[in-house]
Amino acid sequence: MENKEIILSVRDLNVKFSLRGKVLHAIRGIGMDLYKGESLAIVGESGSGKSVLTKNFIGLLDNNGWIDSGEILYYGMDPQHPVDLAKLKTDEEWRDIRGKHVAMVMQDPMTSLNPLKTIGWQIGEALKLHQNLRGEAARKKAIDILSDVGIPEPERRYSQYPHEFSGGMRQRVVIAIAMACNPRILVCDEPTTALDVTIQAQILHLIKELKEKYALTTIYITHDLGVVANVADRIAVMYAGDIVEVGCADEVFYDPRHPYTWALLSSLPQLGIKGRDLYSIKGTPPNLFHPIRGDAFAARNPQALKIDFLHRPPYFEISATHKARTWLLDPRAPKVDPPEHIKNIRNIRKNMTGGQCNG
């Protein structure tokens, strides 16, 4: 892990939104590193700030949002002199980053394509911008990419319109457009949420394949832990605008430490205990319009300590790659046992071999 090259580094990022005259603190001091060639999954419930966090990497924060403080250092252009993406403001300044360095696959393929342009045109638009290809060369390249993303009969499909494609095929086209940009980092914002379950696996497989082929760094945003298990090298768990636990996929899955991660995993139907109600997290996420004191999850955590309500926990390192923000890891904390479900997972792990983080 130490010899891994950092491609993107977020430092103490704070993002705020102005909503109905009030200020919402959406990202509360996040720090994280993204390593070159890895595949990071960001998980968390709706409203935890997963999308907001990654929108900052491509400058597409909604107009009423702004970066209050912090840095987003991008090392992909010149490893010695990183660019601070948090400083970029206008579309003009973002032009060199968007597409060329960071591309995005969005959630809903049904609405992500311009309905009045052929898909060939839409891929060509990216090719012209980022690979300076036009005319016949662009057409050839676009057809190559289409067959790359697994669209049959690419020559015929090239001149068709989005409405002539099914949902899964459209998502492939969206991915083809991202690939036409030839990016370094691919952000996949819930790429399979809007798709049929049978198609989901195909799309995930495709992204994984392209990642290997083009040495992409990928970020998956998802609330589907099944997706995570399939594709992620590392997992970052977000809650209320903060990363509460981050580690290699196996570490977070089989040895979770933060009570929120416990609760999240316990809610998985696959881990339910037969004959008992499925676990669900009580309460609602905190209101980000108000400042949060202590651990944001404390109010919903049945095993919360007194200090959880008073002071925000720092990160405690469990291993070189695994850290969590919870007072439970403080040496002075009482021993709190994880819920039964989590113990079951740990047992599964004992029967497994390997599972090392290879980032």
């Binding site: 032009r95 597409g99 319109y161």
Partner: protein
Amino acid sequence: MLKYSLMRLARSVLTLVILITVIFILLRQMPVEGYFTNFEKMSPTAIDVGLRKLGLKDPLHIQIGRYFLKLLQGDFGVSFRYRVNYPIAQLIWPKMLVSMKFGLTSMVLSLPLGMALGVLMVRGKGRLADKLGNAYIVFIEAVPNAVYFIFIQLYGSSWFDLSILYKAEEWTSMILPVISLALPSISGYAMWLRRYMVDEMNKDYIKLARAKGVPSSAIWFRHVFRNSVVPMVNLIPGSLLLTISGSIYVESLYSVPGMGGLLVDVIKRQDNYMVLALIVIFSSLSILGLLLGDLLMGVVDPRISFAKKEGSR
């Protein structure tokens, strides 16, 4: 496409035939005094003879058949009261040309201006340009246009030394009426284009286009504007054709010898053949406008297909 157009055309003609028949029958239920100039002094026998001479005592289906036959030859019959025994076609044609001259000039002006205003408002959404544009639209929509038409006529003619009434031989006398006609159209085009553009610019594909690094000018022009014009295209043939119907207010203010108000006039005077003729003209143009609008949509929007559905894959 051709097959579809012919089908639509056939259906439009059928609609028109039904419509004319219904109106014809309804107008026959009106009092008969409209067919004579000195009805009050006529004896019942004289009226009966008169009606017979006009063929109005024949069975209804024969009357209708006769009307359609004449219509096919381009003969609308004669006016009974508006201008006694004057052929309707010759009466209406010059009026249509005058109204069209005003209507087309104002449309040629207001379409680009209205679209430009709409684009300006969206580009500066929520800022000064948008607010001014909105104020203008609200003013036009809320204030009855007769009010500002009078101001335009009075102040316009005195400040710029323009003729207060329309004179066919003086083209400058067209300026004030054309401005009056254009003001509401500009507001309409601006309002709709702004609305469609706001709709488009919040769509996901615009976000994807931005994410792939398309410069904002290209996003505005190639994606947002291009896609917003499509729904407007549908309306253009209709408004183009109906310029011949003229405007009651503007034409009466400037005493333009156009079509504006003619329909109301002839209905009041019970000039049944005139009423019929105007309805035939206006409805055929409306139906044709709709048809052309739909066909044009098919040209600019690939999602609209006139062929049998193949089913998407």
